[in-house]
Structures are given as structure tokens and as C-alpha cells.
Symmetry: D2
Subunit: 329 residues, 4 copies
């Protein structure tokens, strides 16, 4: 963390964060990568909960052709988690072929193509288990020395991830609390989740994709309102409750980094990240567009997305869809 | 075309192509962008055929939880359409954060992330209507002068594309012809498609996503066997039959560029591209992984994919899924 | 300009700038690209002033082996002119080969290489004549329609630029005014230049490379103090005096964009750029490191630099050197 | 090496190379990084030989204003060492601002800028001491674990390199042997160097920049004739003679990788690289344009170049100049 914090300071990000961390008590939190219950070869953690039967169960409850689009546009100048904070590359797109200039009519074919360059954690995206380890090891004991090269990880890369087809649940915390957007840095508690679920009359099941709404995306794409270090999100306790008690398969949120920032753990600037990815093998999705689901009070749905199979990558841009379903029995 | 051919020559690609083109008769083919039947504001062409009803119809026929993954891995050194031919950028991935070297145990958090850079027409991907126009105009009369900047198109970019949920059909031409891979540069005819459909006992319907299998991906990822200018693919006639008579919504194939290359039209190096995209508003998908569908003889399915909403882009990497359905009535 | 200003606003840059411009009187300034006195084929403007004789004259006055380095480091997170203002890509560097992790001793060869990505106007760099035109034409009447493609300009690109070997002169305006750094947005006048020259007992000659010091680089690399829209720099009048009366060959400054910003011409956000490049064919250098020359009061020197021959580029990173000379006769 | 060779094989490069290596005897060659005679903090090796006096000596012998340009153009599609061989990124350049399309006259300012992306070992470039180590250590005992991160090396990066101003000598081996281009894979011997020097009546001195001409650049930019694995270049013995007996400061050649390839040492695919960089601290320059010097028989000159200060980089593109000098005493 010291390294990242130093980097952050150099790049001009909030001194306030450092001060806050320096004065807060060190909280409990694991410091050791977990071992997979799915065996020593496992690289995808809780995604192993998905089976033909689990997919079939949710797909057969689809009762409509209405499809909700949970992904955001990717464009030059878009908000991102990490370019201002860490100097990471911004999203870029440029032309590699274009029709001739002038009126372009001189050429029969008007051919266009373009290239993009991006942090894989840009726009709506999934974090894979290789995104965070603890003390040099990923979930299931994979060490960087064995599995990391300049072109990524040989373990737990995005190409190992199956298409995700599962029951999805929206927990609209902002609505339950009667606010448009949760306060800056607000850490969602277990009670917040329970109250919102009760208010929605939604129950969670093992293997769900659980999407938590903070309301922050109502400010999209205003960069001044969407900054990693002031975002509301899950508390560690809420993440623990979802992963361990509710046995959720995948988590997600409408913010830049899932959890509340800044961390209150002075030793760990992203304790929910390391807990879910490194200790529990739970992947999660960030920068989800949940506004339409929320507006229409769609709390249960078939959730479908396919991470791009970016070999060795710790994340992948995705554009998930949600299709409303009949209430389960 | 002259421009592209010159470029190709400079970059060392097949002189044979030029020679072949020079000696072949000029074939018929449109030279004017089409007008959309969906109105002057339309930017997505035949994707307008998709409705809640059409999606519901196919989704409710799903009878299994088996999901076929139609996308390929993206990796450094992968085959692509255009880097050798045109000097286009290759797929690249690199680390922007990585655990400290050594045994990495000194740091609590082992943080990894990476960036990618790619032609948007890399790996399994969809071509949008902005990819090819005719005489300076895209489908529906959009001119480059009005709608193209250094950061892409304000019309018919990938961000305008809805998630695609539709009936999908595989036409296994290679299997119907009893070969592993169609011969180099073979142009699939209308009769080829009809025979394969008959052999499969599959019928096409309006609004289908039609995926044509040449067998070329059985050589994946051998770059020496996957080259644009020698690939088999659709003939112009076959594309016309699918678009106009069968009213297919989206086409696709297991090759680098949908159509047979080299073109036999000396004026147009990609006549199927310009016909489908610019004249008819039909989008299509390339580099599909159809091997498992073919092996299991799955010819009809729910086809689901979501192009990344890359603002202004003429294409997007995708990873579609196919879910088998009950036979339609 | 409206386009750039809109873009700037969208990207969150200073609303103050827009307000300032809206309330300022429109100033005079050319709106038409100039014609080269060096003939219709000329692409490098005043660099034609350089001859074997002019180079020999200055080289033979070298009296020392002391070499001043006028370039800055390029690094991830460095200040730049345009990433915050316009969404332009930041400087990036990443590994493409690295020794195996662990202790690395297992492999005989420990091979490293890396790639970079950058705006060509990053770090110490030269602006070529293709950087700014007026009403669609570069200096010497080159139109974008004829000479610009997705891979740059066929005219006035950096590859056309010769190595620059000329008499260099430092004008230390900050020192003459007795300040460390000129005030924000200060526009250096002709009198400022004259006074500084007099104070230094330096005279200008035809064909000089004239480097103007504002003192801003004493804040390098503090991004908060090095921002384009608040920088001090040349006024249009000062640029005119240097180009037309002093017949300087190349100009330069220790700031992000040579001239004072914001412009006081509401129609032209960079009037010195368009005057020098498009009207007069004068190239210039930005982000120069002049601190050591200033400290040692070295006002006259052999100036040597070679723009990278980036084909078609409107700029190139450079690292010039200055070698003190005997006073001229 | 095994790792690189595997990678090479996967990417389709010459199987012949592997076969050749497998059948050749293992040759002698160091396997341990050297210790700098300039002290434990040294990061630049033999560049320490350069002093004010050494620079002054050569600069004062300049007798002309004629400047030879030793750099090549950088352009999309250019030959490079490593993209085909290792999947490394190719040189790319793209527009980030461009005048509005149409006739462009609607806008007052016609603003262009562009970005580039490149392997730092592209075009004419210098290799720094961080480019090759032995068994995990760079010259002077720097370990990757201590000094390498995702953004390069904290030791021996290009930003540590001073501008290079020294006596340069061209050794035209191709001319001495009476050929346009040395045979493929020819390894230049010590005798070859001695004969060419004698023929030229040139003597070497301690601290020289020694540029060796093979003639290969007469084929520039034909990619089919400029390939790393078939290039002629220095033998290990010749490199040893230059570094140890002649005490050259910097070496250079008109080829993609200085030394003859393939290596005849089956354990080390680049023995001259590791000898010079890791054992002796000698930096070198590749892809030099020596054709004009050769044509004019300019064998002795002031050699001037400034590596870009790319922080942490193992190489930098450069564009050196050579200025003829009076014969030394």
C-alpha cells in the first residue's frame, strides 16, 4: 500500500485520504489468499457455482422480451477509476482507416476502422481473481513468480471466465434510504442491504449475481462527481454477509470500485477487493448502469454477460443484460 | 481501392491478389449507399427488426442451461485480419500494475491491472454500418464530412447498437460439403447454403442471425492458415439471398472477413462488405467460434451478444453465446 | 475554435477561460495561411535559413566541451499540455519483455524492453508547420484534403525537418523582471524582450533560435503549477517582432505552449501558434529546460537538436543541447 | 533463452534458427553481469569516458557546417527488429486532432496533432544497459527485483544517459570487402575491422563512438531484406576487440540488432548484447543510416546525439548527426 499511496501522492491525489487513513484505527481483515473449495486447479472461484441446471432454472423463468442494458458508453474523456489517481492510461480511440478527405466521393469504397486503447478496468467491467492477491498470492495460492509475466497471468485471467448466466438481483440501497445518491464515502452496511431487500420484497439465493445501487451513476458521466476516493459502496461487513451468508456468486455496483473509499483500514486501501477476490474467490462488476432497472423496479432478472477472453487479464469490459423473470417459487 | 491496394503492396502483401484482380472481369455491384426503410434517423439498419416480441419468442423456446461460447481468446500474437495486410496495430496487452518483484510477500496487497490496445476488428467482433460506405456515404446517406472526426463517427457507431437477442441459425457449409475446411478463396453460393440447410433440416426466418461455417477456425490460431486474402466465405450472391430473400437480420462467419477473398470485382476489394453494410444496412460478425455448435449439430439457438458501446466505432469485439432451443412451430 | 472550446468544456476545463474570452474584445490577427518565400514546394519554412555556412559559423565558435541538456524526462504521470484540457492521451510506458520473476537467476539472459505511447507534443518538443493551419490550409497553401490522412500529413511532417544546428540565444525575461516565475497568463511584450536583451548585453541575429524563459519550469514537474490555460508566454506582438523584425528562425520557451494563455482573441484560442506556423512558417519548441543556462547566465550558444523523423507528424519530442560559444564579432 | 525461443516458435519465426542452434557447439561467453570501474552507483557504463575535455577536443576540430543525418524515418509499416519475431508492438501513429472534414474552411484554426506508439527499440535507437542482464542482474549488479517495475527500471534507464558528444568513426566493412551488403548472417571478425580501418587509413582512439557498416541499410525499407534473424553484424570477438582493446565508448551498426544472427552459442541467443551491455557496460546504437557517410568516405566526425530521457527505458529512439572534422594530430 505504501507504494500505491506514494504514487498517489506524487500524482496529486487527495492528501486528505492519507490524513484520514493515518488517523483511523487499523481494522481486522484477512491477509492471506484463500484456498478454493473447487480444487487446486480452480481459477474462477465462485463462478463454479454455475451449472447447466442453475442456468436453465433462471432462463426458463424469462417471461418477456424486454432487455435491460447494464453497460455504459466508452468514449474519450470518460470518467474512470484510475487515470487521475494512479496515472493509468485513459480510454482512447483513433482512426486507422477513414474515407479520403474532401467530399470522399472519389473513392468507391469508404472504409473506416479504428483502434482503442484502455485500462481493462474501464467502463462497465468485471474484476477477475487475478486483480488482487495478498502477500504475493492470488486466490488458490497462485504466486506472481510462477504465473505473472509482462503479458499477464497464466492463471485466473479473463479468458478462463465462462459466460455468466445466472439469477440477478438488484438491491436498490439509494431508494431504500430515500436519496438520489448515497453520501460521499458512505459504507453500505448489512442492515442497509436487509432493509432494502425487505422493502423490495426480494430474497437472495445461493449463486446469485447481486447488484447494489448507490445512485452514483445518476451523475454519469460527470467526472467531478464520479471519483474513486470519495465513492460510496459496500462495507467489508456487507461484502462478507453477501459472500458468506448469502453465498452470492458475483457482486456488482454502480460505482467505480465496488467498495466504499477511502478504506478505514490503514493497512489496506481496498479491503473489500482483497477479501472478495483473494480470500473468497468472488468476482465482481463495477460501473454498472442500473438506472433503468431501478426506475422500473425490476429487482429480479436473468443476468447475462460474457467477459472478453483477454488472455491473462485481471479484468474485462463487459456489457451485461438483464431480462426480467417470473417470480421464483 | 487503389489507395488500399497501394498500401497493401507497400506492406508486402500478396502481389498475386493484384494480378488476379487485374485479370478478372469487373462484376456488377452497387455503388451507392442505401436508404433506410426505418427512417432518416436510423443508424442501425436491420437491427430494427428486433422487438420485444421477437426476443420473447426465441427466449421462451430455451430448453436447456447449456451455453455455447462463440468467442475466441484475445492474445498477443493472435491472428488478425489486417496487421500484416495493412500495417494496422496488432493486439497488445501490458501490465500497468503488478505485485512487487521478488517473492512479492512484502506487500499486503498484490495489485494487478493491465491495459489493452487493439483494432476494434480483432478477435470475434461485429462490424457496424460505419465500417464501409460507398462514395463517401454510409448507409442512410451519412457523409464522412458531417459525421466523422478523429475520434470516430457520430452516426452508426457501436454505442448505438442494442444488445442482440434473436433466433440464431448455424449453416454448416463445410460439413454439408464433406470437408474439414472449404478450399482457399472458395465463394459460398446460394445453392451451397440451400443444400446445407436442407441437410440440416433447418429453415430460415425473417430476423435471424445466420452464422455460416467454413471450417477455417479448425486451424485456429495458426496464423499461416488464417489469412484474409485467401479465405473462403460468402459470395455476393449468397449475401444477397440472405439479406433480401431470407431477410436475415445479422450475418456471421468463422473467418476473418465474412466474404470470400480476393474479390472478383476489380473495382471493389470487399463487395460483400459494401453491399451488406452500405447498401442494405446489415451488420455482421467475424471470427466466430462455431466448432462446438457444429460438433453437436446445434443448428438453432437463442443468440445473445452485446457489442461494447465504443462511441463512434465501426466495430466492437464481442463474445456471443448460443443457447439451444426447442424446435419452433 | 468553437469545437475545441466545446470539447474543453465537456472535459471539465476552465469555465473561466470561456468567460474571459466572451468578454474580451476581438483582436486583430491573420486568418490566412502564408505563402513561402522559399517556393511552392517548401514544407519547412524558416528552417530554410539554415545553411552550411550558418552552421559552420556557430560551430566554429564553440570554445568548451560543456554541454547543456535542454530536455526534460518523460515519465508516466508527467505534466502535459493537453490530456486534461482535451482528453488527449497521456504519456505511457510499459514493459514488453522483462526478466522472469522470482530471483531471475534461472535464465541466462535477462532481457528487457518496453513500449511507449505519447502525444507527439509531450515533454520538450518541436511543433512543425502542420500543427496549425488557418481555414483548412497549412503554411504554403497545403490543404488538409490533399495532404492529410489517418496517418498524418504528406506535407510539413517532422520527417521533413533537418537537424537544427544554429546560433541559440536565451532571453531570460523572468530574471530581467526580477521574479522567479512570471505571473499567471502574463503576455511577454516586445519591450520585455528588449529590456532583457539589453540587460544581458545580448543581440539577436537573423536565423537565431531564440529561447524565452518565463521561469515556469522551476515548478517542474508539479502539475498543479504547469497548466496550459494559465501559462505565461509570448504575446502576439512579441512573436511578430521576433519573426519579422529579428528574423528569428526558430522560437522556444519553458512552458507548455509558447504563448500566453488564455488568448485575448475570442476568435482564436492560439493566435501565436497560427501566426508563427501558418502565416510565417516559423517552427517552435516547448517545455524547454532552461534553468541551468539561466543559472550560469549562458545567453549565447550553439543550439543542436534533431527532431525524430516521425512521418507525417505535427510535432516531435526532442532533447536539444546548448554548447556555449565565444562571443561573436 | 528457452522462453524466448518458445515464444518465437509460437509466433511462427524460423524453425531453421532452432535447428541451427541445436547443432552448433556451445561457445564460450560470460554469464555474469560486470562490475563498473566507475563505482557502485554507476548506471551508464562507458559513457563515463566522456568529459568536457573529450567533447571539447572533438568539437574544436569541426571544420565544416555540413551535417550528416544518421537517423531513419519512423512510419507505419516500417521494418523493425521484433514485431514479427516476438509479437512486439509495431510503430503506430494516429491523429488526435485534425481540421474539420469537408473543405475545412469553416473553422478559423486548423489544428492537428497526433500520438505515436512504439517499441523503444524502433528506428535508429540506442540500447541502454538495462536492455540485457545476465542471470537477473544488469551491469553493476542491479537486480530486477530491486530495480524493475511495470513502468521500467529505476537504474540504467534512458533518462540517466547524457547527451553523447564524441569522436565518431565509421568502419565501412562492406566497402572494404567490395560488396554492397555483407552476406546474410555474416559475423564480422577482428581482421575485417582491422582491414577496413587500414584501407580507410583510420585509427581508433579510446572513447570513440564506432559505427560499423554492413551495407544492409541500402535495402531500407524493404522488410523482406531486413530481418533480425538473418542479419550480418559483429561477432563476439569483434565486439570484445572494440570494447577491450580499442576501448570504444559506444558501438553502432546499420542493422536491426548490432550483432550477427543467429547466434552460434546455443545457450545465448544474443551473446554480443549480453557481453556489451551486461558484462562491459557498453551501450550501442542500431539501425543507423550510414549510407551518405559511406558514399562521401567520411570516416571521422563529431558524433552528436541525445537519447530521449524516457524514464526507466532500456532504449530510446534517436537521430544522431555526424559533422566531419579535421584530421586529428
Amino acid at each position: 500500500m505504501k507504494r500505491l499511496m506514494t504514487q498517489t501522492a506524487k500524482l496529486g491525489a487527495a492528501a486528505a485520504l492519507a490524513a484520514m487513513l493515518a488517523s483511523s484505527p487499523a481494522l481486522a481483515g484477512g491477509d492471506k489468499a484463500g484456498k478454493s473449495p473447487w480444487g487446486p486447479q480452480d481459477e474462477i472461484g465462485t463462478l463454479n457455482m454455475m451449472t447447466d441446471a442453475s442456468r436453465q432454472e433462471i432462463l426458463q423463468r424469462i417471461e418477456t422480451g424486454k432487455v435491460y442494458d447494464l453497460g455504459v458508453d466508452l468514449f474519450v474523456g470518460m470518467p474512470d477509476c484510475c487515470s487521475a489517481a494512479f496515472g493509468d492510461p485513459t480510454y482512447q480511440m483513433w482512426m486507422i482507416h477513414a474515407p479520403a478527405r474532401g467530399d470522399g466521393s472519389g473513392e468507391l469504397l469508404s472504409h473506416s476502422s479504428e483502434a482503442i486503447s484502455m485500462n481493462t478496468h474501464t467502463g462497465t467491467h468485471i474484476d477477475t481473481l487475478s486483480h488482487f492477491g495478498l502477500h504475493g498470492k492470488l486466490f488458490n495460492g497462485v504466486s506472481a513468480n510462477e504465473a505473472l509475466g509482462v503479458r499477464g497471468w497464466s492463471k485466473s485471467g479473463a479468458e478462463k471466465y465462462p459466460p455468466i448466466v445466472a439469477r440477478g438481483v438488484l438491491i436498490d440501497v439509494a431508494k431504500a434510504k430515500g436519496v438520489d445518491i448515497l453520501p460521499a464515502s458512505y459504507a453500505i452496511t448489512v442492515d442497509d442491504l436487509k432493509e432494502a431487500l425487505a422493502r423490495q420484497a426480494t430474497t437472495l439465493s445461493e449463486g446469485d449475481v447481486v447488484l447494489v445501487r448507490t445512485g452514483q451513476m445518476s451523475a454519469w458521466p460527470d467526472k467531478s462527481k464520479l471519483t474513486l476516493f470519495t465513492q460510496s459502496g459496500l462495507s467489508l461487513e456487507a461484502a462478507e454477509w453477501l459472500a458468506e451468508e448469502q453465498k452470492s456468486m458475483v457482486l456488482g455496483a454502480d460505482n467505480l470500485g465496488l467498495e466504499s473509499f477511502p478504506s478505514t483500514n490503514r493497512e489496506n486501501f481496498a479491503p473489500v477487493h482483497s477479501y472478495l477476490l483473494a480470500e473468497k474467490g468472488v468476482s465482481f462488476i463495477e460501473l454498472l448502469w442500473l438506472e433503468e432497472l431501478a426506475r422500473n423496479e425490476v429487482y429480479e432478472f436473468a443476468f447475462i454477460t460474457s467477459p472478453l477472453k483477454l488472455r491473462g487479464a485481471s479484468g474485462s469490459p463487459i456489457r451485461p443484460v438483464a431480462i426480467p423473470v417470473k417470480r421464483g417459487s
